[in-house]
């Protein structure tokens, strides 16, 4: 059959045009955001990385910003690969981040997977590296507070009492063979198996790949299959498993302080900095652990837990 309608040949292209024409560009409700003066948009989108602690921080940021006269909405996405480009482009304006982890991530993004990590146990060094990496991308890293969500190692309380262990150095000196429940990447990461062996001289006999701070990992230590588990400093469920943290007395762990990262063109103003800065002197690692527990174990709403906390601390009025 001959083609009497040459237009038909262009049909796929036309369809593509149709789909994209209706759907690209800012929607009407967002147009105000795009044309607002740079630096201090009054409508801010706060990104959450979709896990409990990130949700809680996003909710607290939202409440504090609303208190300062901004209107906010929270967008929950699943991972950094998705929200970081959105933060650069201004679809997301504020994100709670972890200083050392985010610095390493940006370094990898800039220099490829083999890039040397820039995060360090020292907060000052980490922040300097992070800001140098973030600035060219139009991102501003606001000052860190007191709360830090680092990797941490826990052992059974009875085991610690029996061998008189309080720090990781104690464990190294004891010469005890230790089977470690952790993620399978632990064998390579400097803060995990290699660091425990080199810095603390701990005799790691094997890494049991049960994930970081998972229920199975903690149960394995509770019932004696493993001796130590890799978890985080904001884990509030250790008591439930009869576990205690061993102090990182030689500072093996990176400075994963919580920092708000903002899109400079849209939220780089003093107003945002001051509003979020209120949290810095108040929020502690233990506070965060308690809030995580209320959401993860008691299944309260992150929004309610965040609001109650800020109200009790006098950062937002009770209402």
């Amino acid at each position: 059959m001959t083609s009497r309608h040459p237009g038909v040949r262009a049909l796929p292209a036309l369809l593509l045009l149709l789909v994209t024409a209706c759907t690209t560009g800012p929607s009407l409700e967002n147009q105000g955001d795009v044309t607002a003066p740079p630096g201090d948009s009054k409508h801010l989108t706060i990104g959450s990385a979709g896990f409990t602690e990130s949700d809680l921080l996003a909710q607290m940021y939202a409440l504090l910003l609303e208190q300062a006269g901004y209107s906010t909405r929270i967008l929950s996405v699943t991972n950094r690969e998705i929200y970081e480009p959105a933060l650069e482009s201004g679809q997301i304006d504020v994100v709670p981040e972890y200083a050392a982890t985010f610095a390493d991530w940006l370094k990898t993004k800039a220099d490829g997977a083999d890039a040397d990590p820039v995060g360090s146990p020292d907060l000052g060094t980490t922040m300097k590296a992070l800001r140098a990496l973030a600035a060219p991308r139009g991102l501003t890293v606001l000052p860190p507070g007191r709360a830090v969500d680092q990797n941490a190692f826990a052992v059974a309380a009875a085991y610690a009492a029996k061998h008189r262990l309080e720090t990781l150095s104690d464990l190294g000196r004891s010469g005890l063979p230790v089977r470690l429940a952790a993620g399978d990447e632990c064998v390579k990461r400097p803060y995990c198996e290699p660091g425990l062996k080199k810095v603390y001289g701990i005799d790691i006999t094997a890494v049991d790949p049960r994930g970081v701070g998972t229920t199975q990992a903690k149960q394995a230590v509770q019932n004696g299959q493993d001796q130590m588990v890799l978890t985080t400093t904001t884990d509030a469920t250790l008591d439930d498993f009869g576990l205690v943290l061993l102090a990182d007395d030689r500072h093996l762990q990176n400075a994963d302080y919580l920092v708000p990262v903002v899109n400079r063109a849209r939220a780089g103003s003093g107003g945002v900095r001051d509003a979020l800065g209120k949290l810095n002197t108040v929020l502690t690692t233990a506070d965060l652990a308690r809030m995580n527990e209320q959401v993860d174990s008691w299944r309260r709403l992150p929004e309610d837990v965040a609001r109650t906390y800020l109200e009790n601390k006098g950062l937002v009025p009770k209402g």
């Binding site: 083609s3 049909l11 690209t24 929950s76 699943t78 991972n79 997301i92 993860d296 174990s297 008691w298």
Partner: protein, 225 residues
């Protein structure tokens, strides 16, 4: 540390009344978002699929590329699809809709085409003999006769869209999928179960609704000889 409250939320029960009361607004918003994403995607899919199916029916050379391309689209894993569309649409509901539209095309085009092809040549010739032009033939003879097959495709496309919407959770626009995803992360049984059940209810309700519409639109298929 204060003791945990003693309710079905803290005990993590599968069925939990407190969950329903404390999350009523959230469940409602998620359900509305789920319905909107599904309906918009399927409708846009239908608007695009119809001309494609007609082109494939009436221009023999167009059939292979149209069916080939839409089938290949269907084989793209949903996570990859949304990631591929991300640079184009950014983090928006449009991204999810665009992905779902592309998925719905395979089912809709194939079924509409099957319906059109099932119209007997004798019927078309009889209509032409009565003086029907091409447009009138299409609108009053071919399309009505193609309806049962096309509606079957629409039903499958709708039900699969209801389940695919949940993948939109990776960009924060997944309707009930947002709740399922966050519930899975924290072993929140009541949330996973409630949101999943609502998904199934939506799928079944949409299917029944379309089945009813089909019966109303094609009364002749029920007429007994």
């Amino acid at each position: 540390m204060t003791a945990p409250p003693d309710d079905c939320l803290a005990r993590n029960e599968w069925i939990c009344g407190d969950y329903l009361t404390s999350r009523r607004g959230i469940l409602m918003d998620a359900t509305v978002q789920h319905l909107q994403l599904t309906a918009v995607s399927v409708l846009i899919g239908l608007v695009i699929a119809l001309p494609l199916a007609l082109a494939a029916r009436h221009r023999r050379w167009a059939a292979a590329p149209v069916l080939g391309v839409t089938t290949v689209l269907y084989t793209i894993p949903s996570l990859a699809m949304f990631s591929l569309l991300l640079p184009v649409y950014g983090l928006s509901a449009t991204l999810v809709v665009a992905g779902l539209v592309l998925y719905s095309l395979t089912l809709l085009v194939r079924n509409i085409l099957a319906g059109l092809r099932s119209v007997p040549e004798e019927t078309r010739q009889a209509a032409r003999g009565l003086g029907y032009g091409p447009l009138r033939l299409l609108l009053t003879v071919e399309l009505p006769l193609a309806l049962p097959a096309a509606m079957a495709g629409l039903r499958i496309a709708t039900v699969s869209a209801v389940s695919l919407v949940t993948v939109g959770a990776i960009v924060g626009f997944g309707g009930l999928g947002n709740l399922i995803y966050s519930g899975m992360n924290t072993y929140f049984k009541a949330q996973v179960l409630t949101a999943s059940v609502l998904c199934v209810v939506i799928a079944v309700a949409a299917d029944l609704l379309l089945l009813g519409a089909q019966r109303l639109l094609t009364p002749w298929t029920r007429r007994t000889p």
